[in-house]
Amino acid sequence: MQRCCSVPVPSVLSITTTVVMEEDRKGRVMKYEAPGRPGSPVDVAPRYENFIGGKWQAPTTGDYSPNLCPATAKPICEVPKSGAQDIELALDAAHAAQPKWGEASTAQRAAALNAVADAIDAHREELAIAESWENGKPVRETLAADIPLAADHFRYFAAAIRAEESSITEIDKETVAYHFHEPLGVVGQIIPFNFPLLMAAWKLAPALAAGNATVLKPASPTPWSILKLMEVIGDHLPPGVLNVVNGPGAEIGKALATNKRIAKVAFTGETTTGRLIMQYASQNLIPVTLELGGKSPNIFFNDVAAEDDDFLDKAVEGLVLYAFNKGEVCTAPSRALIQEDIYEEFMGRCLERIRAIKQGDPLDTATMIGPQVSRQQVEKVASYVEIGLKEGAELLVGGHRPTIGGEFKDGYFYEPTVLKGHNKMRVFQEEIFGPVLAVTTFKDEAEALQIANDTLYGLGAGVWSRDTGRTYRMGRAIKAGRVWTNCYHQYPAGAAFGGYKASGIGRETHKMMLEHYSQTKNLLVSYDTKPLGLF
């Protein structure tokens, strides 16, 4: 079911690292029809199956669950509610396909990954609309960031695997150690709901490039966009190399993570589940990479306001980026630390920008923030705001569910919100996972650093200053795996990404991931024909 999209594919250079609003630049604003309706480029079947061995396979349980649209609270379609047996079928297919895939040349695997990237680009609009409708994120973000970044990720790892070399050590005149990278085999991968297609790409690209086959479990709120992705890319990989099984975490996730037939498990999600997965991995002695939560500080030094220029404007936007993806980002800059002498003016500008955020139909390219992914998420956000107010935080803006009319009246929307307080409050320590910013002030560099590091997490951070000596000192001292310096929310391939402390283990989006998905074979070869003389 693959059709070519008639929208011209934008140049990769302009879209892979920054969010470029193509439509706005041309002055057009578009509102896409919802998937399945007349005029929409996206088809919706009433029911979808698992993708196993290159084919659509019904779950052995015969069970399905409804998949809801967060903007309308109405069902989109039904998706499989699989059982442990479906994981076994997927592993059968993966094990059957993996040896040939693993023995293929890197050129052959790279060609397949590039074909996957091309297919994603050709279907950019359809995938962007589908993901936006299912997750609630604004289509302007999926069009300009999520989908192009996903395609680029496959291209990056296609290039990385082609360029990979291994080492040789001359031990002595007649003994040589040859090192080879070999695939692990079949891996299990579990992804979150916040960036379904991009998180799939981050996991799939390095695993497949390195010659592994995979079984992927999408997140419960966002399985459909992954299955639409399979419609687009499924034919470009040998059957069984990539398998998708959908179902509840307690059954499918556990069946996969505890399975003796996987050689590695990769997980992005919450901390306690990460711990459990690592425990399962230890029982089977397999490696694990985890990307867990965060409460990233975004630090603004007073010199950002030294001039009223582009950079100050960028810094203001940098703070407001807490609302990107409706705050459902593990690295959301959810704590803003502003140097006290510029607080009033800087915060004033930011609040003005926040009040101008357009909230509504995620398929309208003018919309900047869509609904939270589910009812339980929006209720959790609301309860955190309540907690913050009870703790004595000051509400600067937002703090309510907005009234959005028409078909969106039941959507899971929450207004972009700012709470002012101090770093010991719960709203400064816990990951809210919504468009709620906790803001506080600091005196000097030392205090900024102390507040920044006073958290259980260490995934991301932002540092803003015109003084690059200062940004360097802060960046090296902050205990986080990704320190955005005079920018935020950029996720280019080639920049390593991962957590310190309770935020996880391992680094993604960088060629070092190939090592996470390989093992080293050493051939220790002797060219000496004489015996040792021992026995």
Binding site: P192, F193, N194, A219, S220, P221, P248, G249, A250, G253, K254, A257, G269, E270, T271, T272, T273, R275, L276, I277, Q279, L292, G293, G294, K295, E328, C330, S374, R375, Q376, Q377, E379, K380, S383, Y384, I387, E391, K424, M425, R426, Q429, E430, E431, I432, F433, T455, L456, Y457, A502, S503
Partner: protein
């Protein structure tokens, strides 16, 4: 792993009627107790994870908040401090359990609500 009540923390967590009923049903379904571990971070931030008893290996860093119908409720000790030593209420709501957590019944998941913390953070 046997439950150890430490530092007199028993009573830091209580449950609603609905949660008690859900626990009873799970105990019957699993033929034994379940266990609760308060989640920290990311998509399921304040949901308590519910596993079959003994599923998650607990360690020195886990604090027992209380025992509900023979089921332990733990929280990471550092997280407990970061939250200002809250007293938690276990409840049940419509929705999908996060992570690998067991459901609290058909279409239901466990949630925790906070009562006033013992030590108000200054």
């Amino acid at each position: 792993m046997p439950a150890k009540v430490e530092n007199g923390n028993a009573g830091c967590v209580t449950a609603t009627e609905a949660a008690h009923r859900a626990i009873e049903a799970l105990r019957a379904a699993h033929g034994g107790p379940v266990m609760f571990v308060q989640s920290g971070g990311c998509c399921d931030g304040s949901d308590p994870m519910c596993f079959p008893g003994g599923e998650l290996a607990l360690g020195e860093g886990d604090m027992l908040l209380g025992v509900l119908d023979g089921c332990t409720f733990h929280i990471d000790a550092d997280l407990f401090e970061a939250l200002g030593r809250p007293r938690l209420l276990l409840d049940v709501e419509e929705g999908t359990p996060g992570g690998f957590s067991l459901a609290a019944g058909d279409g239901l998941h466990f949630v925790t609500r906070v009562r006033e913390p013992r030590n108000k953070a200054s």
